[in-house]
């Protein structure tokens, strides 16, 4: 039961960084990739409907730790107090900036919220990634399970590099996501960003795996580190071949295996104590009783499949690509009068409405004729040769 809950916590972190990972990537990339207001609206619009649901994975990971491993939750949140504070501020700013930028009237205020979104989206994975690295690297914990160090003890080189690794993967993951979810200019910029980021990400992941070996000892790579490196390297040819769908799958795998490797390196510990192995927090010395774990297991087994189903459905509903219709997509031409030109004209009809800031560049959506959905093309881009300098 205790092992099962350690796996659950790992899965929740994987779910969080897999889903929010591209939200963070998109949040960072809206600045360089969305060159004007419309471009940034397109970029942010890709995560508009889903980021809030994705964030709940973190909420459940934290609450799940609280319930299943109270000793871990108590030690981690109080030891990493400055990290938690910074992460909370960044999470707050990130959440409201997406919301507020769609509502504020002046262009200047909108810019402020967009820059806030960019900074916050970078800080969250950096801080939380550093935290995960520090769990493994070890911080001073006494026999009562309480932190005894200071800020310097939390900031080891390895921990910081773990944060950098997670952040870089988020960037790559976000670029791959934008490659899947956008059209037109933004799409081309996302693809060229992917081509730039992919080799960097692969190198960072390799360096991370190597540093992990140095930091925790041992010579051989574990299977999950091997898979993480394999996935990170696979991203490179995939983005150069323009295979957006597979590239996104590979960035997802990279993120998943990096997170899994951190947790498996930890197990059976949950927080390494730098004051000696006797003070390590482990799954068994921090776990809640059998009964509460059993209750939680029932709830999880019943609810998680339901949650996954409707969350997947929401991704399906918002599968339509966003972005300018200026470059026609290869594939079947849209039927009827809804040619791209019509789309632009019809889109401007809605311009006086301050609404739809996030999605307006997508053009109008006529549910009856389904014009935009056809216009937008299928979820996976038709393959095309890489276009440089897009």
């Amino acid at each position: 039961m205790i092992v099962f809950w350690f796996i659950v916590i790992t899965v929740l972190w994987v779910g969080f960084l897999l889903l929010e990972g591209f939200d963070f990537g998109v949040g960072m990339l809206q600045q360089p990739l969305g060159r004007d207001a419309a471009g940034r609206s397109t970029v942010i619009g890709t995560i508009g409907p889903v980021w809030d649901g994705n964030e709940v994975w973190l909420v459940v990971a934290a609450a799940g730790t609280f319930a299943a491993f109270p000793g871990w939750y108590a030690a981690m949140f109080s030891a990493f107090y400055p990290f938690m504070l910074l992460a909370l501020v960044a999470l707050i700013v990130r959440g409201v900036s997406i919301e507020f930028r769609g509502h504020v009237e002046s262009a200047r205020n909108r810019r402020i919220w967009e820059i806030a979104l960019c900074v916050a989206s970078a800080l969250i994975p950096l801080v939380l990634g550093t935290l995960l690295g520090a769990l493994l690297h070890g911080v001073p914990i006494n026999s009562a399970g309480n932190f005894t160090g200071n800020l310097g003890d939390l900031l080891s080189g390895y921990a910081i590099f773990t944060g950098v690794t997670i952040t870089v993967i988020c960037l790559m993951h976000g670029a791959a996501f934008l490659g899947l979810r956008t059209l037109g200019e933004v799409h081309h910029r996302a693809l060229s960003a992917s081509r730039m980021l992919a080799p960097v990400t692969a190198l960072v992941v390799i360096a991370f795996a190597a540093w992990t070996r140095v930091d925790v000892g041992g010579v051989l790579l574990s299977w999950e580190e091997f898979l993480a490196i394999l996935a990170a390297i696979a991203v490179v040819p995939l983005v150069y071949a323009g295979r957006s769908g597979l590239a996104f799958a590979a960035t997802s795998a990279t993120m998943a295996f990096v997170v899994i490797s951190l947790f498996l390196e930890l197990y059976p510990r949950v927080m390494v104590s730098s004051t000696g192995a006797a003070n390590d927090l482990t799954t068994t010395n921090t776990a809640a009783g059998h009964y509460s774990l059993a209750v939680m297991t029932v709830v999880l087994v019943v609810l998680l499949p339901v949650v996954l189903t409707y969350q997947a459905w929401s991704f399906y509903v918002f599968r339509r690509r966003l972005g300018g219709a200026a470059r026609p997509v290869e594939g079947p031409p849209p039927p009827g009068p809804s040619e791209p030109a019509t789309a632009v004209v019809a889109g401007s009809e809605h311009a006086p409405d301050p609404a739809g800031e996030l999605t307006r560049p997508a053009g109008p959506i006529n549910r009856v004729t389904g014009s935009v959905i056809r216009l937008a093309g299928p979820l996976f881009v038709p393959r095309r040769p890489p276009k440089r300098g897009g």
Binding site: G48, P49, D52, V59, A68, S314, T359, N366
Partner: protein
């Protein structure tokens, strides 16, 4: 010192968070009702109202969600001893809240906001109901967790920690069931109060009176029964708490010595710690007996007697919360709730000619701030009344804080949160005022359901 600062931080961030929680739970329900009305009648005014109040909902949900994160993290950050002690019992409802409520609320809110043109009318209606149900579920789980702190049940103490032994007992505790219903009705009153106030503002300005008369009417029809019922439920909750937490109720009346029957003072001067014989003004005989015990001649044990009893039971210490705060938070809650009821009843009387009732419209705008004050006072009453305990009878607040977190750290985080929350409040308030004062889009832009709708305000 650091315990006090941690308390200030928890209290201030909770109060702030709970400005947004009841508003969004209430508005989600009312928006769902408006959209259902549109779905069934096809009348465009209901669609316009759905959009209008939906926009107010969406602005506030964002702040409610992110400030909730602070609450969840804060247990571990500032109250690690508490977290270790109660995690097995208290963490379970929090995790269930995330799984059952937050996923539902967040995912379907995204679907609702962006799904106007992508989902069928029926499915789109279902999404706002899912949001509303998610909100109510989240209230259920968080109230289960909170009620356990007021009245711990279904646990055993092993290795110095509370271990869950009976989840059924936690989820059927009287304090929980009454507290949960009390909070859901409070949320409904908050949403309806804002709806009435905003509608009244527009009716005064004569903007779209035919539409805002409807929303004002709906709000009044929700407010009258909800406020009446919630007063009864609150009074029942008071009796229940009086049984399990007699200090809380005795302190709310500044009742230092046992009485039978007990009168209720409408207000008084003094009555605090060093003044056990306050000047009571306007005493209502038997009312305290009735409120605290449901009996005409019920006995209310005084604070001095309870202090003696607890000192014997739990060892020496001060077992009396701040009486001044208890006494006045109870009265602010009850009296302002009475004002809300009066406004709603006035509206009920003037229904059918609301738009001509200038005085009513002027006063009805006050139904916007009143529920927030009532909610805050209610929480102060129930949480301050639990002191000095963090978990009634099991753990004291002073033993619950994080040993590794120093005063300077908490001061830093307190200042950071206050500044950040201040900025959020200003922006949110500015947006609310702008959106609430916005004139409704003319009916012509909202044609029949077959035509493409403009993207929603998001």
């Amino acid at each position: 010192m650091s315990v006090d600062l941690a308390r200030v931080q928890f209290a201030s961030t909770s109060i702030y968070h709970f400005l947004f929680v009841p508003l969004t739970i209430g508005l989600a329900l009312l928006t769902a009702v408006l959209q259902t009305a549109w779905y069934r009648t096809q009348r465009p005014e209901y669609l316009r109202l759905t959009r209008f109040f939906g926009a107010l909902l969406v602005i506030n949900v964002a702040v409610g969600v992110v400030t909730g994160l602070v609450q969840e993290f804060q247990f571990g950050m500032n109250w690690s001893q508490y977290s270790r002690f109660v995690g097995s019992v208290f963490g379970a409802p929090l995790a269930m809240e995330g799984l059952a409520a937050f996923f539902l609320e967040s995912t379907f809110l995204g679907l609702w906001i962006f799904g106007w043109n992508r989902l069928s009318r029926r499915v789109h209606l279902a999404t706002i109901w899912a949001v509303a149900i998610g909100g109510i579920l989240s209230a259920a789980f968080i109230m289960a967790a909170n009620s356990w702190m007021q009245h711990p049940v279904g646990y055993k103490i092993s290795n110095g920690r509370a271990e869950l032994t009976d989840i059924g007992a936690v989820l059927t505790s009287q304090v929980f069931l009454r507290g949960f219903i009390h909070v859901v009705f409070a949320a409904l009153i908050t949403g309806a109060g804002v709806m009435l106030g905003v509608s009244a503002w527009h009716l005064r300005k004569r903007s779209s009176p035919e539409v805002f008369t409807r929303s004002a009417g709906i709000a009044i029809y929700v407010l009258v029964p909800a406020t009446l019922l919630n007063m009864l439920i609150g009074s029942e909750l008071g009796v229940t708490e009086g049984r399990f937490q007699p200090v809380k109720i005795a302190a709310a009346e500044a009742q230092w010595n046992t009485c039978q029957p007990c009168s209720f003072s409408v207000f008084q001067i003094g009555g605090g710690k060093n003044d056990e014989t306050p000047t009571q003004i306007l005493e209502v005989p038997h009312l305290l007996s009735l409120l605290a015990t449901n009996h005409w001649n019920g006995k209310v044990i005084g604070l001095n007697q309870l202090q003696a009893q607890y000192s014997q039971q739990y060892g020496p210490g001060n077992y009396i919360p701040n009486v001044f705060i208890q006494y006045w938070s109870m009265r602010v809650m009850a009296y302002l709730a009475g004002l809300i009821l009066l406004i709603a009843l006035w509206g009920l009387w003037r229904r059918g000619r609301l738009s001509e009732s200038r005085w009513f419209l002027r006063v009805a705008i006050w139904s916007i701030p009143l529920p927030f004050l009532v909610n805050t006072a209610g929480w102060v009453l129930t949480e301050n009344g639990r002191q000095p305990w963090i978990v009634q009878g099991l753990q004291k607040t002073q033993n619950a804080a994080s040993p590794s977190v120093g005063t300077a750290t908490i001061i830093t985080s307190l200042v950071v949160f206050l500044l950040l929350y201040g900025v959020l409040a200003l922006v949110d308030w500015g947006l609310m005022v702008r959106y609430a004062r916005k004139e409704l889009a003319p009916a012509g832009t909202q044609p029949d359901a077959e035509a493409p709708l403009p993207e929603p305000s998001y």
